[in-house]
Amino acid sequence: MHYRTTIGAVVLAASLCGTFAGALAFDESKYPNWKGAWRRVAVPGIVGQPSYDPTKLPGAAQQAPLTPEYQAIYEANVKDQALGGQGTDPTYTCLSPGMPRVMTTFVPFEIVVTPQMTNFLIQHIHDSRRIFTDGRDWPKNIVPTFVGYSIGHWIDTDGDGRYDVLEVETRGFKGPRSYDPAGIPLAFDNQSIFKERIYSDKADPNILYDEITTIDNALTRPWSVTKTYTRVPVKQPEWIEEVCAEGNSDVEIDHQGYFLSGDGSLMPTKKDQAPPDLRYFKQPQR
């Protein structure tokens, strides 16, 4: 009897608990807690500009599985960068880095999870993403963008009733895009497909992984890397506003990069670079 009464009490309490929960349309407890600010984890010994595969040094050490055609494009880019040019790194005039480079996360970023969408708010050049998780299919027509069109699915891999992995596929690109500042190029046909698995470390919820696999016609095979992020341990993160145009001294005229000097004049970025064509000006040059 006592036993039955105890069960009754448990059922009553549990049902009350369920009633309260029923009023909640967005059950946050089903989703991983990714609130706060995240920043990329620096890998000891890896120096220089952040590379695409964070576990390897930038440039040739990335061992990008490029086709011979794109390997040649990459090497020409290396020579141009050595002369002071930008090579195949298109971001110097504030073009969006696009996918997958935005996931390098140059600055701390925020993840906003709702049932319909997960936003990655990355305030760098133009790096933020929307991942639709509302069950939609691929649209018949996608307007190409640098960050692409992302559809995700939440997975409960361990069957505990809580989602623990966000699987994402991203298509629908425009270019030019490169993997990193070293200029490793993506195919100019912009047919890239990215598959990601984003999840927290099982032992440390303040570590986040993004396994990114790139399928691209500049590659001989899919290229997989894992990005690792750590949660910034502050209650009220300071969100930096980075405005690329502010103080950016790089300009492009007729597909050539130039530099703006401190006195407001145009400067070459490479030795013996020709000045821009001023055919539309009637006034003599100052």
Partner: protein, 288 residues
């Protein structure tokens, strides 16, 4: 005693579990208005051109901005300069962020996401603006790095006492410049001491119509300037989110004190008659 103890223990255990779950389920979105989704600025019949700060009035001088004489003179100088350069109202001559309050014109679609701690307003126009209105009860920080978007603290109000919030009151400070109210160039004060107060709420009769009553206090103004912005919810859940890459869209280039246009062929062009070309003193190669 044993009976009481076992029931009590069971109740406490379940209650504890319930509390633990409730803590995780802290977000009761039923008590917040449904602002989530995509919003576009409401079209004003008869309005032409780029959206002005007060959508109910014509652009430029028609806005009747309550500017101080000093800032009215600056505005007139801007109008005169643009007329001389043939620019008129321009979306932007640089890709600096529009900032507050101009960004709330929602030139491009606006995403609002409401969570208990923060309401996010995301607008991808000129700059990819992430506006966060903190509703976690925080006080103003002692030091804030100024931004074009500013630092916004909000609080939810249940005005009609029905147990649900219906108005988000927001205050925004700590701005940087230069900023203007709209594309006609109505200036805000260079001291960047602007304070923007807003009341954001759904229309009582039409839940797909959003109002933002904006009051700007600024040293360029003789009095606070209040306008009402209206937005329509996009009913298509699959609506497109355009990606606005400023330097693909804005054909202007500032070199020194001069603004030039980059033509469709990529060449530099003057923006006014007899404009001198840029100084090429640093080039050793002959001009092409």
């Amino acid at each position: 005693m044993q009976y009481f103890g076992s029931v009590a223990t069971a109740m406490v255990t379940v209650a504890a579990l319930c509390m633990s779950t409730a803590a995780l389920r802290a977000f009761d979105d039923a008590i917040y208005p449904d602002l989530n989704g995509q919003w576009t600025r409401a079209i004003v019949p008869g309005a032409v051109g780029l959206p002005p700060f007060d959508p109910g009035k014509p652009t430029g001088r028609g806005q009747q901005a309550p500017l101080t004489p000093e800032y009215q003179a600056k505005f007139e100088a801007t109008l005169a300069e643009r007329a001389a350069k043939g620019l008129g109202d321009v979306e932007a001559v640089s890709c600096l962020a529009p900032g507050m309050p101009m960004m709330m014109q929602a030139y491009e679609p606006m995403q609002i996401t409401v969570l208990p701690e923060t309401t996010y307003i995301l607008i991808d126009h000129i700059h990819e603006s992430h506006r966060r209105i903190f509703t976690d009860g925080r006080a103003w920080p002692k030091t804030v790095a100024p931004t074009f978007t500013g630092y916004s603290i909000g609080r939810w109000i249940d005005e009609d006492g029905d147990g649900r919030y219906d108005v988000l009151e927001s205050e925004t400070r700590h701005l940087k410049g230069p900023r203007v109210f709209d594309s006609s160039g109505i200036p805000l004060h260079e001291d960047d001491q602007t304070v923007v107060k807003e009341r954001i709420y759904l229309d009582k009769a039409d839940r797909n119509l959003l109002h933002d009553e904006i009051t700007v206090t600024d040293h360029a103004l003789t009095r606070p300037w209040t306008v009402m912005k209206n937005y329509r919810r996009t009913l298509d859940p699959l609506a497109d989110w355009p990606e606005y890459i400023c330097n693909e869209r804005i054909p202007f280039l500032r070199i020194g004190t001069e603004i030039y246009r980059v033509g469709e062929d990529g060449h530099l062009m003057p923006t006014r008659q007899n404009q001198p070309p840029p100084d090429l003193r640093y080039f050793t190669q002959p001009k092409k």
